[in-house]
Symmetry: C2
Subunit: 261 residues, 2 copies
Amino acid sequence: MTAKREKLFLITNDDGIHARGLEALIEMVQPYGKVMVIAPEDGQSGMSHAITVKYPIRLKELEKQKNLEVYSSNGTPVDCVKLALSKLCDRKPDMILAGINHGSNSSSSIIYSGTMAAAMEGCINGIPSIGFSLLDYSPEANFRSIVKYAKIILESALEKGIPLDTCLNVNFPVNTYKKIKGIRICRQNKGVWKEEFEQRLDPMQRDYFWLTGEFMNLEPKAQDTDEWALHHNYISIVPVHVDLTAYRAMDQLRKWTIESG
Amino acid sequence: MTAKREKLFLITNDDGIHARGLEALIEMVQPYGKVMVIAPEDGQSGMSHAITVKYPIRLKELEKQKNLEVYSSNGTPVDCVKLALSKLCDRKPDMILAGINHGSNSSSSIIYSGTMAAAMEGCINGIPSIGFSLLDYSPEANFRSIVKYAKIILESALEKGIPLDTCLNVNFPVNTYKKIKGIRICRQNKGVWKEEFEQRLDPMQRDYFWLTGEFMNLEPKAQDTDEWALHHNYISIVPVHVDLTAYRAMDQLRKWTIESG
């Protein structure tokens, strides 16, 4: 009889090491095994899949217990995953969990998200990965109200396995626990951020810009999307892959008849 | 009889405004219409789809002629596209072109690329977009040798149209023009960067890390991938979309039977 090895969970986020969503996720995962946390020392929202190649990366040990290690880094969320896999973990993690993000990563927002990039980096490395996000930016966001559902998803993933070469984009509606209607498997909604740069003058009378924007849902009537689910108080799960090939477009391109050789 | 409006091309990259690959692309596109260039003032390789939300964005006008406007910005490649669409272009560009990138954006490298992120941002905004990359990092990289092929691709895209909701990831093999065997429509190769952080001590005896890595092709025998094409001296074209949904995984997730409500 061999002892079952304890599971190793790697946890990160893009809101930074002090984020309440991260704290809630760590607390939730600890009963399931050993937890290794490495998160940006400061917020890294909107950093997408960026990696740091121009500057040296620093790593700070914050806590080292038998079943919980916590580190911060000046790098991006994807740097954090790469650092953990290369320098911190003594074995391949059983799962990578990112979040709980402060704000939505549904629809096209997934493309800009550092939290979902961390999960996708796990997927590239063949590690089952889940990103969790709560559609609530307020400082009072109630992360604990959604932990019950996050646990159902985590336990299903541990028991049944995440489909090969995919990771999960899980978003929770802004709601107290009682109002959530259920969980839905969805596709990514088609949407776009309409930018309105705010133009200002600095004290030297030079222009500068702040990026602001408004999300536009390009298919508000479709009922199989994450946006629809979230606006109807469902938790959305979108399986996500890192193969960006638009397979259906390949035949159309072949009609260009520029293939040769 | 109405005069045909001149086409407007938006050009950017992630190697920065002074990159030779950008210069080659501008020169190539000018005969086709009006050219608007906005590129990062400094290199932004590996910035992926990052956007700048924590710092103000600056914009510098470098050149303003009737058919060529050139700007630089302290923002990321995606910031550049957003700035152009929101502040610089008097109409929606007919096409967004990114590159010519110094180095490969094939296989999973597409995920980290600022150049391909700019093309994908065009795609999100419904604008036909192409990213061009040359697999040559050397300062002597011969961009002009590939322009003949880039023009064939550009002219086909203008004439026949890029498939809806996709953009093109075009990579050129490291080669003098004579050795290129042809053009192939490919799918994205499955691969992963194996990281080896180089650990050093700063003058204060504190650790710091440099990200380095080696690309591992996880399906070296597949002949329909961009990696295969490039290693056999073909130009690769991968149609890319921004819908990351792993549709085939949806049924498998439904077997978890956690859907409810």
